[in-house]
Amino acid sequence: MNVSLKRMNAIFQKDLKDFSRNWAVSSVILMPIILGALFGRTGVQDLSSHYLLINLAMAMVAMFVQCCLIAEEKEKNTLRGLMLSPASSTEIIGGKSLLSLIFTIIVIYVTAMLADYRPANFGVVAAAIILSTLFYISLGTILGLFSKSVMEASLVVMPVIMVFSVGSFITNFVDSYPILKVALYLPNIQLIELATKVEAGGGFGDVLVELAIITGWVVASFIVTVYLYRRKMVD
């Protein structure tokens, strides 16, 4: 399968220009940065607070922004135009995900710096965050493909953002409600598990299980995304 980087870049450049003029959506990227600055000033230094911010950044930037970008393409019938062009599914989904990916990485980096979070092993944490970001982008794409409009997308995405950003608090109730143990396998919780091991001196070899679980989520969400996208190509 040939993938044209030129086509992906063309979609990315278009999205970048469009996004910079779309304040209703682009302004959300400021929220994690502002919170990061507040956390940094107030001296909140525990790991769960840092990952509350990081998961929020991924949910808001990777998932929310991606969901709105896709939903707007659907609402304005521009997605069909892309689908009818020679660009392949990979080029379109890839091109449309680049903006969310790049902005998420930048926002997480800036937020972490402002919140004064310096991981003990940057490489491991960076790999896990990039993997998690891919999952959130994929989930945003799925929700966007399900929504008929940006308005609907922004409503649909909210409960999902809640689960994946502040959902880590669920772990506090696992002892009382064993059924909630399932939530321990969510990628946001796995990311915190991984970060905890890293802070305790763990390297790649010590976090393989967490990385594998996050990768599993990424693969599963990719499969659903491609399946849904192909279904949307036909009325």
Partner: protein, 282 residues
């Protein structure tokens, strides 16, 4: 391969509603084929099936000698262009930026943008944001986008429905020029004059099936009532039969220098449509 599109027994059912019921036609390479019918007659469904956006319920349809299911492939999407009434544009971007994206998607040089904007009379406006354009201007931008890669086959769904007569004529000229370069055009329209002016052959679609298919001139002759209207100096209009009896009367009027104009009474395509289907094109 003389036929670029071949359709036989094509049917599409949505729930309990039949959108298309055993449709048969072919489109020859290089022709402008008009597909006429009222709203809800199945025109857009046909375009969607032919471009791989809709799966037919039954029947056979081929484009470029390949099943329409293949039209989802990049290699075929490069060969056709589509303009439908809901083709979207990016409102926050300029006309130029919208077209630039498609230049890169189709591997067309950006210099082509000015050329297609000339066809739709929008070159002067290329820096304008799409959200500030009128509906007619937006329609012209989507048409320009469909023309960018000079497709072998162009599907146009009501291309001039929101345009004033001047711009419609300008676009007709552009379409004729594109057709002269070899692009086959599949055109759906309500506008009978447009169909008459542009199409080599037309098909009347009604209630999901084709009622008539022929050259516009042949259809008009076939449904002509074989009379002529003579306008006389005294402003009287006289309808004469086209046979010997009418010829004698016409000769008499002419001999007496009473004739101002003579018109053959061919029906318009719209009148033929109403006659055949009992429905108006709306």
């Amino acid at each position: 391969m003389n036929n670029i599109i071949e359709v036989s027994g094509l049917a599409k059912v949505f729930g309990n509603e039949k959108a298309l019921e055993s449709v048969d036609f072919h489109v020859k390479r290089g022709e402008i084929f008009g597909f006429l019918g009222p709203s809800g007659s199945g025109k857009t469904s046909t375009i969607k099936i032919l471009t791989g956006q809709l799966t037919p319920t039954s029947g056979k349809a081929t484009v470029f000698d390949e099943s329409v299911s293949q039209m989802k492939k990049s290699e075929f999407r490069r060969r056709f262009g589509v303009l439908t009434d809901n083709s979207g544009l990016y409102g926050r971007l300029s006309i130029q930026d919208n077209l630039k994206l498609y230049c890169e998607l189709y591997d067309v040089p950006v210099s082509k943008i000015d050329e297609v904007l000339d066809v739709v009379n929008l070159r002067e406006d290329k820096s304008k944001r799409v959200s500030t354009l009128s509906k007619g201007m937006m329609q012209r931008v989507t048409l320009a986008r469909a023309l960018l890669h000079e497709p072998e086959l162009l599907f146009l769904d009501e291309p001039t429905s929101a345009l004033d007569p001047m711009n419609s004529l300008h676009i007709h000229e552009g379409l004729r020029a594109l057709n002269a370069k070899g692009t086959t055009i599949f055109l759906t329209t309500h506008d009978m004059q447009e169909a008459d002016a542009l199409c080599d052959r037309i098909a009347f679609l009604n209630q999901g099936s084709i009622q008539l298919l022929d050259k516009p001139d042949k259809l008009k002759k076939r449904y002509s009532d074989s009379t002529i209207t003579v306008e006389l100096l005294n402003e009287e209009k006289v309808v004469l039969p086209a046979g010997a009896e009418g010829a004698q009367q016409l000769f008499d009027y002419m001999n007496n220098n009473q004739v101002v104009t003579i018109h053959s009474n061919e029906p318009t395509l719209g009148q033929i449509f109403v006659k055949v289907t009992g429905r108006k094109l709306a």
